[in-house]
């Protein structure tokens, strides 16, 4: 398709405009975390790291960060096990209801968080399960499983079963085949899926609200709670900036891993 010079210019402007809308505010958050003015006067009147040191020593933020990391790790671990098992079942075997299960596994990522949240909340209270750390992990796992499942399923479909057949043909037992052939092939997909799952869980807020106990706070919930306290504003800003950086890294890595051709290079 050939475009006129005018059309090309317009498209370029639209692209940069769109990206600017997303990334300029993130940049402002980052810059403001070093802004000495408590009211974030623009342009920044100087450069300071005092908000960062205050945030680092803020007990609420530190505790919330720890909780978030723990929940994200647990949800990711759960998702890795269950997601890849589901992917194996769907990719490698034919059974009654396969298509339906495949659809049901993926659905939670499309469901509004508020629906998942309400549903889990009422299910937990109906079942007499006390809200707490584990209920949040389960809530996050519902959508974390999807990204692991999708990554592993795509890899399994692409590699097919020939390599496993070749391994069995050369005398490897089922366990040996899994260790030497299947797992190395999946390593990239598991890493990519795991990183995405971690990132999803780490900044989740809606499902968390409905599944967490009163005494527990994840980082996003802590931010939400402190956002409108004027005293805390600079610290919230620092935490947000840190979150931006922390989310970019796993997503960037996951992206590179899914692009790589085969798990061979990992």
């Amino acid at each position: 398709m050939t475009l006129s010079a005018r059309a090309r210019l317009l498209l370029r402007l639209a692209t940069f405009g769109g990206l600017a809308v997303i990334y300029v505010p993130l940049l402002v958050v980052l810059v403001n975390s070093f802004n000495p003015s408590k009211t974030f006067g623009w342009p920044p009147s100087g450069f300071t790291t005092q908000w960062w040191s205050r945030a680092a020593s803020n007990p609420g933020a530190r505790e919330a960060l720890l909780t978030s990391v723990e929940i994200a790790l647990a949800a990711t671990a759960l998702a890795l096990v269950l997601g890849s098992m589901a992917a194996f079942a769907v990719a490698r075997y034919r059974w009654f209801g396969r298509e339906t299960v495949s659809f049901l596994v993926v659905l939670p990522i499309a469901l509004p968080g508020i629906v998942t949240g309400i549903a889990l909340n009422s299910a937990f209270s109906a079942g007499g399960v006390a809200l707490g750390f584990l209920t949040v992990v389960v809530g996050h796992a519902t959508f974390c499983i999807v990204v692991v499942y999708n990554n592993v399923l795509a890899r399994l479909r692409r590699t097919g079963t020939t390599l496993e057949e070749a391994s069995a043909d050369l005398g490897a037992s089922t366990l040996q085949t899994f260790l030497h052939v299947t797992f190395p092939q999946l390593r990239g997909a598991l890493l990519a899926g795991g990183l995405l799952a971690f990132a999803l869980s780490f900044d989740e807020i809606v499902v968390t609200q409905f599944t967490i106990s009163a005494g527990l706070q994840t980082l996003p919930i802590w931010i939400f709670a402190n956002l409108f306290r004027p005293n805390q504003a600079p610290v919230v800003n620092v935490v947000a900036a840190a979150l931006v950086v922390a989310s970019v890294i796993p997503v960037y890595l996951a992206n590179r891993l899914s692009e790589g051709n085969g798990g061979g290079r990992l």
Binding site: E165, A168, D169, G262
Partner: protein, 357 residues
Amino acid sequence: MSQPAGATTPVVSLRGLRKEFPGVGGGARVVAVDGVDLDIAEGEFVTLLGPSGSGKTTVLRMIAGFETPSGGQVLLRGADVTRTAPFERDVNTVFQDYALFPHMTVLQNVEYGLRVKKVPRVQRRERALEALAGVRLEGMEKRAPGQLSGGQRQRVALARALVNRPSVLLLDEPLGALDLKLREQMQVELKQIQREVGITFVFVTHDQEEALTMSDRIVVFNRGRVDQVGSPAEIYEHPRTTFVAGFVGTSNLLHAKASEALLGEAGLFSVRPEKIRLLADGEDPVTGETVAPAVVEEVVYAGATTRIVARLDAGDSLVVQRQNQRTSSLDTEGLRGARVRLAWSREHASRLPDDDG
């Protein structure tokens, strides 16, 4: 099982082998292999030949153990392995797409079979290097499969299988992905390697020329059944069914009307194009030759040969293939539409069963 293993026990025996697959979307079951009996002797190069969907690959996969037969038996050196897992069978496979492990080097790929069988490191290194030398890949040990050409990958796959010294090597269209030149070269090499190692090869292909060049014996598959088993010459010169006559070489058929008029015997006959010659004006046929007056419909010059399509006065069209020993394209130009006499030795007309295919 009680059969003693001896020199006369076939390496591979298939007894009434059958395989059905469930139909797509709840459709009728598909019979892929429908009662195959076959004995393969020690050191033989046997080719399973047939079009796609004829069941040849499924038979190979049942010998390897990747598919469980719906009926019948697979015996390896007399022992029933019908339900034995692939990793417990003394056979190795060269896959169509090679199936090299992408995360391992060439050497690690070749060592794999020995490694999982816990052969000591020094010994397996030695055997792997020897196998790589056998396929002329010295110096490539450290490469990744992705860095090799198609022909080289093919050889790694071969070395990876042969290093285990299996009773039988199964090859599933191993040359299909190579270009024509390389394929012809690999045909010769494969044959050479087979002679050197003395291992039984079971080779699957849909390429009749490949089958004719490489095999000691050819098994022609047609819709899940074996149509004919024989040496390349037997298969080519004396096809036993219309399908074999058509699939191997050019199908040149005489139906009842023409055969009655020309051969004095009503039936279906096959005559290979290169067995037919054009009689020169006033030339007498040799004793035992069948002569058929005809009109030339088409002349195709193909470099080494010229193909002439002639319509017989008695009915049916035959293709005649003529070596361009002295002729050139110029001589054939005037032939179209000309009245000619075709002649072939009576023995070159093979009778086919009437009611088949």
